[in-house]
Structure formats: structure tokens, C-alpha cells
Symmetry: C2
Subunit: 235 residues, 2 copies
């Protein structure tokens, strides 16, 4: 007999931006396998769990996905209540498909608990909506499009508001490509690092300025692009 | 002196899918102005607040946005802790820009508390990710594109995974337009009504089948389109 697994979205980082359900499951967990993006404040909600870091961060020492899948399955045979804790929401850029497949193949029952994705927490923090009547009627989330096994130069989505997760290192490339595709260099950009955490920092610039790059720190960087991000005081 | 306003995301509907912060603010609120999409389970978290419905639903009796703005400002002069409670996340399809402008013009201080948007709760419920390695690297959220003041036939976003909020009535139009733009009729579609609630219902079909319409009930309908939504057992 195996235990049960919950894939839980930790939300953006602040301890009280996880869902009530997520917090309750963390409090009862026997083991928690967590990503590098999960904050100490969130891990503090795990009252009695063994904590196992399976973090992946670009450019840093990382655990291969297949190894994470194995650890997850193995944990379900060692513990009764297993949580796989992911930053933001587990179903967005989370490799959840591979983990769910591994669980199904091992006949382990699991549930998924959604979370607040960083983009919404960022919009809340800067008090600017992602959609805006007459200005931006849709929004796309995307992530790294370079440095992959299969680089795809045509992969930038076409949408009014564009949100690039972990977009700091590729900012110059993103800006050049969007301007080449017809976006105005005057398009507002907001860059937020460490969303919802004590050391959150916000920069405002234009897409044209972003062609010269960003100066960001070590934390996760969200790049938000589009007319919906123009300051209300500028309109 | 005015009170303070919190624009709070209620999440998809289940009482425990609101954030811990959101639940705490609701419990302390003196008045809550809520949308039609907010569920009774969530309203039950308001322990001592006056509850005011300012719901808008397509095709039903509705409150004009300017009137909601006025009510919100007026409430902040009558109550100390005012919550403007919106289904899902307040910064996505929520007319939040107009409400924040009204609050700023009246010099009323406010905060925004993000929420789990319905699409993530739907993905959790059906256990299928919105992005998938090698299959779907980006996702777009959009809503009604017809029946507006400024109909825009070119407004469908270009993205691997497409999520249409309140998409039930326009399903035939959406399917025709996507197929005309080159999406395969074989593309998987998942339609979810009343996400995260007791009466949640899920239908699976293809984009080609959606050209003949959907049979949905009275609840809010989310239409999810793309290869990431193909059942794992079908691959």
C-alpha cells in the first residue's frame, strides 16, 4: 500500500498567499518535496514534515526531472501523506505532467491543489490589472524560449499583455523580438523580483529601454509587458 | 476620514481555495460588495459583514460599472473595513482598473489580494497541466470577444493553450475562428462548468465537435483548448 500525494501550489511566496486548503495539507504532511522557488515562510507551515529540497534553478545545481519523479514515487511508499510543493501554481510551467504520469504508472493516488501564480500577486502588488477595458483584453504567460533543447525563435505568444516567467536573463532578446514583431518601443514594462516577499523590488521601463537589458538580483524575475501596465497617473 | 478597501480575489468558488490572507480579511470585514460569481461558501467566511450584491452576469439584470464604483467609494465613507470581492483573481477580467481609479480619485487607501483564477482550479480538478514540455509552452486567457461595444474579429490570441472565460455562449464562434486560423479540428477541448463546486461538470470533446456547440447549464463555463488538454491515456 502506498500513501497519497498532493501536488500543491505554494503561491508567490508570502506565507498567507497560499490557499486555505494548501496550508491545511502542509500542516498535516509527513514529507514535503519542494522546489527552489518555495520560500522559508511557506516551508514554516509544514509542522511535522520531513523537508526534501528537489529544487531546480536555471544555471544552478539541479535535480533532474526523472530523479524527482523517482523520489516522489519512493516517498509515497515510505510516507502516508506526501506533498509535492511547487512555487506559484503547479499546473503552469511546473513539469506536473511528468510527475502525474509517474504517479499513475505506480498506481499512487494523488490530488492537485491550485495556487496563486506569481503574475497575479505581482499585479496585486503594483495595483495594475493584467486586462483593461478597451486596452488589453487578453493575457499570455510564457517562459524561457532560448537556451532550450529545441530553441524556437517563433514562440513568443501574440497577446495584449505578455508575462514572461523567469524572464530576467532573456530580457534583451525578448525586447528585440517583440519590437521586430511590431510592438511599440514605448510599450510599458514592469519588472518585479521576489514578488510578495519582503525584498520585492519593482522597476518600470519601456520595451525600448529593455533592449539594453535589466539589472536584477538573484531572485526570480517576472517581466510584464503591455499597455495595461502603464501607470494610471501617466494616462 | 474614510475606511480602507481591499480588492480580494475569492478564487474559483470552494471555500478553502481562497488565500489565507483573503479569508482573514473577509472574517474581519465590515461590508463586502460581491460579484454574482462569488459562491455562498465564500460569503459564509464573512463573519460580521453587511453583504451587498453588485453582481454582473451576461444576459441578466446587472449593475452598471459606474454604479459599482460609486457604491464602493460610498461604502468606504460608511464603513471602516470594506471588501470588494471578485470571483477568481481581481486583476483578470475584473474591471479592477476602473474601481482603483475611483478609489484613488476619492483618496481612499486600498490593497489588492490575489486569488486562484478558475483556469488553475480547473487544471487541478481534471489533473491536466496548462503547459507541457514539448507540447505547450505558453498559455493565454481571454474572454468574450463578440457582443461588445467594439467587436474585434481578430482578437483571439495566438498561444499553445487557450483558455476562454465565460466561453459557453461563444463556443461555436470560437471553434470556427480557431479552425479558420489553422488549429486542427482534432485539438482537444475541455469544458468545465462550476469549477471547484459540488456541481462541477466536465466535458471532453474536440475543437471540430465544438463547432456544433456546447450543451451547458446556467453556471459559469470555462473552455480550455489545446494539445496540453489531451488525456494522458490517449497519448
Amino acid at each position: 500500500m502506498s500513501g497519497k500525494v498532493w501536488l500543491v501550489g505554494a503561491g508567490p511566496g508570502a506565507a498567507d498567499l497560499i490557499t486555505v486548503r494548501g496550508a491545511r495539507i502542509l500542516a498535516k504532511a509527513d514529507v514535503v518535496l519542494y522546489d527552489a522557488l518555495v520560500t522559508p515562510e511557506i516551508l514554516a507551515l509544514c509542522r511535522s514534515a520531513d523537508l526534501i529540497s528537489v529544487g531546480k534553478r536555471s544555471g544552478q545545481r539541479s535535480t533532474a526531472q526523472s530523479l524527482i519523479n523517482q523520489q516522489l514515487v519512493a516517498s509515497a511508499f515510505l510516507y502516508e501523506r506526501v506533498v509535492r510543493l511547487k512555487g506559484g501554481d503547479p499546473m503552469l510551467f511546473g513539469r506536473a505532467d511528468e510527475e502525474m504520469r509517474a504517479l499513475e504508472q505506480a498506481n499512487i493516488s494523488f490530488e492537485v491543489v491550485p495556487g496563486v501564480t506569481t503574475a497575479f500577486a505581482a499585479a496585486a502588488s503594483i495595483k495594475q490589472p493584467l486586462t483593461k477595458r478597451g486596452v488589453a483584453r487578453n493575457v499570455a504567460f510564457f517562459t524561457s524560449t532560448t537556451g532550450r533543447e529545441e530553441p524556437d525563435q517563433a514562440a513568443l505568444p501574440e497577446c495584449d499583455t505578455l508575462i514572461q516567467y523567469m524572464g530576467g536573463q532573456e530580457a534583451i532578446d525578448t525586447a528585440h523580438r517583440l519590437i521586430a514583431h511590431g510592438k511599440s518601443p514605448n510599450t510599458p514594462v514592469i519588472v518585479i523580483e521576489n514578488v510578495s516577499r519582503k525584498d520585492e523590488s519593482v522597476s518600470r521601463l519601456s520595451l525600448g529601454e529593455m533592449m539594453h537589458g535589466l539589472s536584477t538580483g538573484e531572485g526570480p524575475v517576472l517581466v510584464m509587458i503591455g499597455e495595461a501596465l502603464r501607470s494610471r497617473s501617466d494616462i
